[in-house]
Amino acid sequence: MTTIKTPRARRPRKTGRRHPLASVALIAIGLLFTGGAYVAFSSSTAVATTDASSQQTIAQGEKLFAANCATCHGLSAQGSSEGPSLIGVGAASVDFQVGTGRMPMQMQGPQAQKKPVQFTAEQTAALAAYVASLAPGPAIPAAELLDAAGDAATGAELFRINCAMCHNVAGAGGALTEGKFAPAIENVSAQHIYEAMITGPQNMPVFNDMNISPEDKRDIITYLKYVEDNPSPGGLALGSLGPVAEGLFIWIFGLGAIVALTVWITAKSN
């Protein structure tokens, strides 16, 4: 802007807002703001969880609990014939179950299914705060464990050893007995993955910090996020389900195409 009054002012201005890179800078600033706002917004849940112990939040959670959860879990979360006691399950458990839509449960069945989330982040945090206030239990993990910036190789190895027998090596899910199943772990947030490991929802065993250290959990999340963010180098992955999907594909589409071509080749010309 100071160049305006210099003798070279009449030449087309290449500085200030007319600079060739100005629009690029503008976009960068815009992105920075949007990103910043997004970060601020998404970290607001973390803020909400940090002041989870405030009496006001707990009171709000208790109200929500009485209205939405007490039918099965009891008015003071002591449990009933319809649902287990929630005393001591911790904030992590509530955040996982409510945050993935599994609770409130749609219907009794082999296991609670994922569905659209019923509560806002704030309400979930309030519920978690209330349940956490009943007795000590696993807390919502700190953000630095969820950054997916650990060692993917260690994570992959741990995942194969501890998780793949139910969830499949690529996290595509798998069957359990009597209609239960290990769900696919694609597009599950790092926080929910971590919480699942420490709380053992549904039929999943608990992997506590003695079993898999917090850093190892961070590595596992790193691996899962790597798989999620990097599409299969070989092309479409056919659900990462293994040889059954491949066999089905070759019979229906491979051999199907070939048979169609044999028909075409041997067709009599008119």
Partner: protein, 549 residues
């Protein structure tokens, strides 16, 4: 021979003869004078092949095999069949620094660090799946059209051995990368072998060079995979094709097709061009699939380690029926006798699957014995015209399909929201009862179709046109079937159950009784083809047809 020699020498003497025909002719002549290939070209070039899409399925299998050989040769340049432990240091981040066998590490390098390596791996694997699938479909075509009958029984056996060898090739190849999936597959084989009483453990230790997994198995399977099995397969394919040439090709029943002729195109030029072009079409399809779809992502599975087993661990599709058979065995099928465990869960599977395979392999001889048919057959059966055979085939397919489906019981359970137990119990039922149901339904459908054919031959098609006769009677005009179509509908051989005949000693042995019983079972329900007499009568009976003309 002597006359030929003199003629050739006579030609040789004609030095002064002016050459005509340019380069092609002289090149052809050059080759022919040194190889006498014109005899073969004349013989093979005039060979007639009937044109039908289902006759190309065997070709698809052959072409897939050629693709496998080409892509496999590429892979051998880079694959190291060694189980020596190395630390992976390639491009794929989630395996960096992980100890693995040289086999796994080199397969990872093929997939990530060698130009075109992943594409070739995928071409090789997809072509392998297509190879076995094409063989399967080809076999079904042969079976249901009765192409295995005399004189082609031995070629059926050769083809079936090729099918088994193709599965062996597939399984050894599946085990080579030494990733988690292939190691799990080998562990199952190890368990199967160890389940055999007395010799099991010894055989397992012999195969793996000690306790599973050892450090030998990949090298051994590699020798089988790239040397022994392909050599046998190539030799058997040569025999298989030689037999096709010797026997001449079968053809579907149609006007002018008889046991004495072959109606179709000569190999040169049309058929050779079509078949040659078709190779590139098959290659193109495999390439397209391989470039768009992942197969066997070993980077997901990671190196083999005996402790982890991934959910959704299955063999490639062609081993699925054996895997499924084991999944269908109820729990606790084992007993202890003299301080040794006898694993019925494994022995029953080995016996049943083994019996099934042997039965399919020798089926042409079984059917030949039951029917007592010693004639040569070059015209195929339409499946409906051999109802019992078609029904047996349907039962076999149902049995195989149930076992096969069982290999994906877990995938079915998760994807259709079923319980694993429900899927297994349903498939147990379809495995045991399904074949009987399929036999009954297929046979009835065949007989019904035969009746329909008979009706069409005798009375033509219903035209929907109602005509009132002068006497007041209403009749529907039937459109008579044309002669070409009629040929197809009436030309099949009629069989009757075998008569019990005493042998030279004047006795009827138990084997003969069994044979006669089976023959009765095979032929008791049958629709005889329409005879000329019946045809003439039928036409006489239908004034409406005549008025229509």
């Amino acid at each position: 021979m002597t006359t030929i020699t003199t003629r050739e020498s006579a030609e040789d003497q004609g030095v002064g003869v002016k050459k005509t025909g340019g380069f092609t002719a002289s090149a052809a002549n050059y080759i022919d004078e040194r190889t006498s290939i014109s005899g073969a070209v004349k013989e093979l070039g005039r060979k007639i092949f009937p044109d039908h899409w289902s006759f190309l399925l065997g070709e698809v299998a052959l072409y897939s095999f050629v693709i496998i050989l080409l892509s496999g040769s590429f892979l051998t340049f880079f694959f190291q069949a060694s189980m020596a432990e190395v630390v992976y240091d390639g491009s794929y981040a989630p395996l960096k620094g992980i100890p693995m066998s040289a086999a796994m590490s080199s397969t990872m390098d093929i997939s990530f660090d060698i130009r075109g390596g992943l594409l070739m791996r995928q071409v090789h694997h997809w072509a392998a799946l297509l190879f076995v699938a094409a063989i399967g479909l080809h076999m079904l075509r042969i079976y249901f059209t009765g192409a295995f009958r005399k004189p082609r029984e031995l070629n059926w056996v050769i083809g079936f051995i090729l099918f088994i060898l193709a599965m062996a090739e597939g399984f050894t190849g599946y085990s080579l990368p030494d990733d988690l999936l292939s190691g799990n597959g080998l562990r199952i084989i190890d368990g199967l072998i160890k389940g055999i009483p007395v010799v099991g453990t010894w055989v397992s230790f012999l195969l793996f060079g000690g306790e599973f997994p050892g450090t030998d198995i990949v090298g051994r399977l590699y020798s089988l995979h790239i040397l022994l099995l392909p050599a046998i397969i190539v030799a058997l394919i040569a025999m298989h094709l030689l037999f096709v040439v010797v026997h001449k090709h079968t053809q579907y029943p149609a006007a002018g097709h008889t046991n004495q002729n072959v109606v179709g195109y000569p190999v040169l030029p049309v058929y050779a061009a079509k078949a040659g072009g078709f190779f590139f079409i098959v290659f193109g399809v495999v390439m397209l699939i391989a470039s768009l779809f992942t197969i066997n992502p070993i980077w997901n599975y990671g190196p083999y380690d005996p402790s982890p087993v991934s959910a959704g661990t299955q063999p490639d599709w062609y081993i699925g029926f054996a895997d499924g058979a084991m999944r269908l065995i109820p729990t606790g099928w084992e007993f202890v006798w003299l301080n040794h465990t006898y694993s019925l869960n494994i022995l029953v599977v080995l016996t049943v699957v083994g019996l099934f395979i042997v039965t399919v392999m020798i089926y042409p001889f079984i059917e030949g014995w039951i029917t007592g048919d010693k004639r040569e057959h070059h015209v195929l059966d339409r499946p409906r015209n051999a109802p019992t055979r078609t029904a047996i085939g349907a039962a076999g397919v149902t049995f195989y399909a149930s076992l096969w489906a069982a290999a994906s019981s877990d995938i079915m359970a998760t994807h259709f929201h079923l319980t694993m137990e429900g899927v297994i119990h349903t498939l147990q039922a379809t495995t045991l009862l399904g074949p009987f149901l399929a036999f009954f339904i297929a046979k009835r459908v065949c007989l019904a179709l035969q009746k329909k054919d008979r009706e069409i031959v005798l009375h033509g098609y219903e035209s929907g046109r109602i005509v009132r006769l002068p006497g007041g009677e209403f009749v529907e005009v039937h459109q008579p079937v044309d002669e070409y179509e009629r040929w197809k509908l009436v030309s099949y051989s009629d069989f009757k159950p075998l008569m019990l005949r005493p042998n030279a000693q004047g006795k009827i042995g138990p084997a003969e009784k069994v044979r006669a019983g089976l023959s009765r079972w095979f032929f008791e329900d049958r629709i005889t083809p329409v005879t000329q007499v019946e045809l003439n009568q039928a036409h006489g009976d239908h004034p409406a047809e005549i008025t229509d003309k």
